[in-house]
Symmetry: C2
Subunit: 668 residues, 2 copies
């Protein structure tokens, strides 16, 4: 018996939408034909600036076809604080009525429609109100009326005021794609056990407070790094590929309704210094979402311009640019096709007073009292494992940050960049403090490539950076003034499930026999990564493996794979598990792990890599307000906890000028 029908179910059924497809959505936050952006059930910091957009949709065809595809241009919208009468949006925010916008977009209702190439076409009428804010905590109701009787309602919550600054500084470490499972695996590789007792621990293991955050997007339960970063930085969830905005349906990817981010707030209210450090290209989602406002994360050039100059197409909070900005991604700085309007962004930054570094030597020598840009390679950093264990792999790269041919040389690591950023931000922030985001980007990037050891190497680099940061803050006597948060933006479905005897695997002839090299339960044994091996020393210090290539290696896997081969154990070269064949179909890459056994994938056959997963990710906290980070919460709450600790919930349109020279003295 599958289904028990009853009367209650039949009543509930009446409220069902005609649209049953969830995989494809007309617009993620817009289940009705009228859309309010920000949509229902969104939270705001008091005084946080944002845009409001209304859309009325008229599908011309498809399962939702309505009104012959003519959208209602006479829609009206109001807002009411609880207990007050509704006012028009224009009146409430003292804005003039904006002009009507119109456009058309199309989408596929499901995979059958996509295969048949039968898109549903939607005509839209829309208005947008720019740069408003709500200062009074409480509940607000926004009502959109359209089509002579239809309404779409959005309830918004303005959280409590938080005007007191409890932490002078915040350092936010993000292990991109980092899960508890990966942290457990990295501990196994980098730290030795004796009879079930670890002899040393990860730095994050020693954090006093642990929480879990839910990483889902507003439009899907599987997020990407753009909108998850945006949720962490702004308290507003967005859609896949979007950051600092609620994604609308308009053709312009740069006109979507914006929300103010933590560095924009912090600069506006307290005049604090801020910085971003990443082992990704610096225009990548996690670092760039601190200042980026776009529906399309791949608009890299303009996003770098926004980081320096702020949003240019509309009036918006400026941050005056980061005080420290270190990462990869020279493509957006070297004048050419990758840079905004083809301009030289090294020169643009230099014009605004930045020191510019292209290698570690220059980075360490950069003055701490000047703003600093450091771009150390094209694209992403080579990973820790290649920089430290297989440095020969770097020689063949063509990633010189200057634009000259050849490899990037004298690369700093995440620790070098982070500690230098702290020096600069501490000096430049002065009594106004600072905010630093430091990202270990390739945990994610190498998990995508199923290159488990390379991912875990970068996780250990992150942990080593956290450890060094704590020591640095102690040395600067600001540890007690600094909230340190270590978290992630989403996960990958990774776990270790045993060990593999590489010697035995390599001696077997066929795929099935090779699988028998895997030991499970008691045959997993203990980690050999922490056992010294004669003749092997990497000089990478404590908290890293003594041997990356033992006979018995971890056997690990992902919940989702493209077609690939497995031969557990570190590869000398970075991994490309699958490659594209005829008709865009993806198959096992014949050059990857040729000694391994074939594993057919569980992902669509156009996917060359692993994909993100659902799991909640851990949050480690230490310092002022640490006690607020325990338990389980939404990713947007990470923003509200940090913002509350930084006193960013303000009752009026406060700027640092209000506080006199350089802001008020923080409490701590």
């Amino acid at each position: 018996m599958l289904l028990k029908a009853n009367a209650a179910a039949l009543c509930l059924a009446a409220s069902l939408s005609a649209v049953t497809a969830q995989t494809f959505q007309r617009l993620g936050t817009c289940p009705d034909l009228g859309c309010v952006l920000p949509p229902d059930q969104q939270d705001f910091l008091p005084g946080q600036e944002f845009d409001i957009r209304f859309e009325v949709h008229a599908p011309k065809n498809g399962s939702e076809a309505f009104n012959n595809g003519v959208p209602d241009e006479k829609f009206t919208a109001t807002i009411a604080k609880d207990g007050h009468r509704p006012k028009s949006i224009a009146d409430f925010f003292d804005r003039s009525e904006p002009k009507l916008e119109k456009w058309t977009f199309s989408w596929y209702e499901d995979l059958f429609a996509k295969d048949a190439n039968t898109p549903s076409v939607v005509n839209v009428a829309s208005k947008v109100y720019r740069r408003v804010a709500l200062y009074e905590p409480g509940e607000y109701t926004v009502t959109l009326k359209y089509y002579n009787g239809k309404t779409t309602t959005a309830k918004w919550t303005v959280r409590a005021l938080a005007t007191e600054k409890k932490a002078k500084n915040v350092i936010f470490f993000i292990g991109d794609g980092m899960t508890t499972n990966m942290i457990t695996a990295a501990r196994l590789l980098g730290h030795k056990t004796v009879n079930g007792r670890y002899q040393s621990l990860l730095a994050v293991d020693e954090f006093p407070v642990l929480g879990h955050q839910m990483s889902h997007s507003i439009d899907t339960f599987i997020t990407d790094s753009a909108n998850s970063a945006s949720a962490l930085y702004s308290g507003h969830k967005s859609s896949v590929n979007a950051m600092g905005v609620y994604a609308d349906s308009s053709p312009d990817t740069e006109d979507d309704p914006k929300v103010e981010t933590i560095v924009e707030l912090l600069h506006r209210i307290w005049g604090s210094a801020w910085g971003a450090v990443s082992t990704a290209f610096i225009a990548d989602a996690t670092p760039i979402a601190l200042t980026g406002h776009t529906r399309r994360r791949s608009n890299y050039g303009i996003l770098i311009d926004q980081a320096l100059h702020g949003v240019s197409n509309y009036s918006w909070t400026k941050t005056d640019g980061p005080d420290a900005y270190f990462g990869g991604g020279a493509e957006q700085f070297i004048p050419g096709p990758g840079s905004f309007k083809g301009k030289d962004y090294y020169a643009e930054f230099a014009k605004k007073g930045y020191s510019v570094s292209w290698n570690k030597t220059a980075l360490l020598a950069a003055p701490n009292n000047k703003k600093a840009l450091g771009i150390f390679c094209k694209s992403n950093f080579p990973v820790w494992l290649d920089r430290n264990i297989f440095p020969d792999n770097l020689d063949s790269l063509d990633n010189n940050p200057s634009g000259a041919a050849g490899p990037a040389k004298d690369l700093p690591g995440l620790k070098d960049m982070t500690l230098k950023a702290i020096d600069i931000l501490h000096e430049r922030g002065g009594k106004n403090g600072f905010f630093l985001m430091s990202e270990a980007a390739s945990i994610d990037k190498q998990m995508h490539a199923l290159d488990y050891e390379r991912a875990l190497g970068d996780l250990l680099e992150l942990d080593d950076t956290v450890r060094a940061t704590i020591a640095k803050l102690k040395e600067l006597r600001i540890l007690d003034d600094t909230l340190i948060v270590v978290s992630a933006d989403h996960g990958h479905g990774f776990d270790v499930f045993g060990s593999s005897d590489t010697k035995y695997a390599d001696a077997q002839k066929d795929d099935r026999a090779k699988r028998n090299a895997v030991g499970v339960y008691e045959n997993s044994g203990l980690s050999q990564y922490t056992q010294p091996k004669e003749g092997v020393s990497y000089g990478t210090g404590p908290n890293f493996p003594l041997n990356w290539d033992p006979r018995y290696v971890i056997a690990a896997g992902m919940g989702a794979n493209p077609d690939h081969r497995e031969r557990f154990g570190v590869g000398r070269e970075p991994r490309t598990p699958a490659s594209v064949g005829a008709g865009g179909e993806v198959y096992v890459n014949p050059a990857d792990r040729p000694d391994g056994f074939v594993v057919n994938g569980t992902l669509p056959t156009d996917q060359t890599q692993g994909v993100h997963s659902l799991t909640d990710v851990p949050v480690y906290a230490m310092g002022p307000c640490q006690e607020t980070f325990g338990g389980t919460y939404n990713n947007i709450d990470v923003f509200f906890k940090m913002a509350s600790c930084l006193g960013l919930g303000q009752p009026r349109n406060r700027t640092r000028a209000d506080a006199g020279h350089g802001g008020t003295k923080p409490k701590s």
Copy 2:
């Protein structure tokens, strides 16, 4: 460049053991030829009783061959508290010298040796000292001297005294195999979101304190449920398949050195009531490890006898049997091959004053002032999904707990059993309080079978039980006196990575095309499990899916698989993903998910199921001492935190008689 040799590495290499195999081990806790059990770096509660075993190994052949296979029978052993002179074990503990034991065992050094059937044979000389305890906190050094100059040392730590009882009661929920990833997935199925905001949450989401515990065994990084339960209950890690003992190498699986468990301590010191509830057979590892002392978890019959009568082959703490004992596993109670010595254990329990229930009606009617046994089926419970959504699946079972033919009828759920146990324990414990372990066993069992929905159904049942327990404790006015801990014993490498359009998948003809039904990132969309569907109602109340069989289902996977087919979405019948073919080789079960696509496994080809994984598992805590459960720690620390909160760290050999009638009044 893979390896950089240097002088330091060469020096380190001198300390390497000749044994390079880790997958197979001579004896997990015994890296040298001399073994001290408990081994190096173990922790003790003051006053916790335990046995000590010494073994001296003489391998006859293989890479470790020594002394022509003749073990040193003249070995000596001492113990010294830090700052004191060493004494012989017999003198220190005031025991007479035990007689020497001798035996032989064999093992395979690696898979090559196993394939060639060339075992290494080891002769052993051994002594065991029974039922000792250390009362003074501090560090102790045990030294075994053998072979005229060899020594094996064990450092033991007796933790601080904890004589004050801060919690009257402890309820310990174990979701067997439950990870954060599964909790996230269960939330998605059972709780609705609107624009990225959950409209309701899991009960565990609302716990104030969250921690992570490391689940590894003493002998391997991948644990099983026996020794992980044992670590949680005794503070002593053990080896795979062992519980309540440190595994030795002797032929007798029931003579291994024991450690006292939390219910043994609690009964001895405070005379508290205790109970166990499980949806597994009650002799399964997680429930039975509360009282079990064996190296072989599959000795089910004797383990049930131990639960009732205590250890019978040696003098040991008795618990007088559980006050409430509810689960499956009638095989060990019906007189016959599954029961200890063929006896009728229903009758054995009844003789000691137990009420005996075989169904929910009898359970609910059982008197609260009597000890209660409830065995509701043979083997494991049918899972929540079959009990509640597909009840027809129960009709064909032959699992009547009475031993009569036919199915078990009128089964209680985990919630029924747990709430009834609380009633009984509260009444019987009185002012001495109680300890209850309640296990959702089939989260693990169904993840083994790759039956994701059935596993998540049982996780939601656990969460529903936690919610009801909190309400029950409030009603009994003992919520503030009760520490509630919700955790797991280990994980499985599970995660959700997208959605699958079952309609599209089923319409595709070949395996690769079926994979294209999977939507990732924005195409994952939102959960349809929480959307009402016309004509569908299960009557399972809030916090469970409104539709278990939507068109768009979760796409999920494991890090490790046997060969199997995937057709995402719930199956009407419980799953058997792989089956054994010729020569013991395991292949896709042709009857399982015939409409799915084939996924070849990554596990050894004799494995029919998924396996446990490495990941740290979450710990949720609420009530007295909750603040001690934050951060990251070892699974043994869960025991020490609970034991400390229960005042079980005592400076002398305390029994409840010491405290007068029924023990002292607890503080709270």
